[in-house]
Amino acid sequence: MDLPNDLPRRRVWPGEDFTRIPDWVYTDQWVYEREVERIFHGHTWNYVGLEAEIPDAGDFIRSNVGPTPVVVARAEDGDIAVFENRCTHRAAEFCRELTGNVKAFVCPYHQWTYDLRGNLQAVPFRRGVQGRGGMGADFKLSEHNPRQLAATTHRGVIFASYAHDMEPLADYLGPDILREFEATFDGRKLVILGHYRHSLPGNWKLYHENLKDPYHATLLHTFLVTFGLLVAGNKSLMLADPSGRHGVMCSAKSDASKIAAEDKAEMRAFKEGMRLADPRMMDFVPEFDSPWSVTMATIWPNLIVQREMNTLGIRQLIPTGPNEFIMKWTMFGFEGDTEEMTRHRLRQGNLMGPAGFLGLEDNEAIKFVQDGMLRVPGGEHLVKLDPGTPFGTSETLISESAIRAMYRHWREAMAL
């Protein structure tokens, strides 16, 4: 796998311990390129879109698998096709619109034409003009398709993979993660409420770690803590699948007035007596068959499923280099939501996203972490909390066991 000229750049994990993560995991270009090859283009199911975005034949969206632009299209027979957005002639990214409906994709440069499955259908002047020029007699359209990915869907969520020998999604997720996935995608038809997109000057794995780090949630997010959505004494669970790659941070809303005094003292964020002028935003309308009012699922390698009470969203992670990534959010509700329920979801949406009371803090924190590594380089991160649970699921929020489990998987996938 590794060419000799890779050797000088090759990184070696320090020892067999998982309580220290070296900075190069987050900042090194070679590591990043290896992640694209072995993780995003490797044996993984990558989120690419929702079926509700492409309900009809000919509908398409632009999406990404890792950094790689792909087209997600609905073929005439209702199948979903995912293929690279790169003309096999001169490499042009031929699909330019964010979304739309077409009969075929025509590259604007020389009008090479691809059908809804990404099969090359036509090459202008293939036989030349008046017997001169054109492609050779041995040119076969079928040998010049853009790379076509495997695709699967579950409860309206579309995944794609460069690996064509993937296990079914249910097996990829495992029963615990699948149960939480199906608690949110409970069979009701999805209605897209809109998107937002932002860039983040940090390594993409920090976003996974942030949602496998329940410790921060009780400390950074004053807003969340104050209103009793998540506090150190809450009923909670940091679930990790046996492989360590997926996780779900779960918590149940509690009454802030019932927080023990010693817990309040530990949480500088807790502010006694803070009240919202319009408390509707924090209402929780029970609608899911789940003991949890909040679940944040991290589905390896590029999907976050947010169920923050009634504000529901997909976050698609698009790495663009070791030090930056893009997040594309798709917020949704369900068919049958009343107008008031939709507005409730929108009001509660103030918690999340790049201007959300929680979301903006996470984004800032991730920037600070990357700044720290880039400006004081060559260090390492300490992830030692909860030594009693070396890896995996933890029932206390004051734990980093899910992060360690993720790195155990990452090292295996990366052969590092």
Binding site: L98, I192, L193, G194, H195, Y196, R197, H198, S199, L200, P201, L220, T222, F223, T226, A269, K271, M274, L276, A277, D278, M281, I326, M331, T342, R343, L346, R347, G349, N350, G353, P354, A355, G356, F357, G359, L360, E361, N363, E364, A365, K367, F368, D371
Partner: protein, 164 residues
């Protein structure tokens, strides 16, 4: 003296222009409690991508129904939110104004928000887009009944900490 309707239109336009200058100044000072006072009691405020707006999808980066929610936004940003220090300049231009029969005023204007982080050398365009507004008079003074901030830059750099 004959009544010239052009004069009334000019005065109204000048009044809204002054309102926007004042609005920008409050945000540039990050005086969010003063910013809240720009809105009527039932004022609606949303920061929405052009992508969502044009597709009739309602999700906003910030979505406030009523001045109480706007006040909560201001209070939470001032008292609870953690973000790095920054300076902002809100530029508002290309104003157009249309008085309505019911006494309200519809207006639109372009905006650019330039953000400077204290640890980065270059000022950057944080937001570019347009306001679609409905003004009403409350005790004689103009207040926003609706302000839709429709931004063109679909990809937000890191975070939007101060409103638009």
């Amino acid at each position: 003296m004959t009544y010239d309707p052009r004069l009334a239109a000019l005065l109204l336009r000048a009044e809204i222009d002054a309102f926007n200058t004042d609005y920008a100044e409050k945000l540039d000072r990050q005086d969010l409690l003063a910013w809240v006072e720009s809105f009527a009691e039932d004022g609606f405020y949303v920061v929405i991508s052009r992508e969502n707006f044009e597709r009739n999808q309602p999700v906003g980066l910030i979505y406030c129904e009523g001045r109480a929610m706007i006040a909560d936004r201001a209070f939470a940003l001032l008292k609870t939110a953690m973000f790095g220090p920054r300076y902002l300049r809100h530029m508002i231009s290309n104003l157009s104004v249309a008085a309505q029969a019911d006494g309200s005023v519809r207006a639109r204007a372009n905006f650019i928000v330039i953000e400077v982080l204290t640890d980065r050398p270059e000022p950057r365009v944080l937001q570019v887009g347009e306001y679609r507004d409905v003004f009403v008079r409350v005790d004689g003074a103009l207040r926003l009944k609706e302000r839709r901030c429709i931004y063109d830059n679909l990809l937000i750099p890191t975070a939007l900490c101060i409103p638009v």
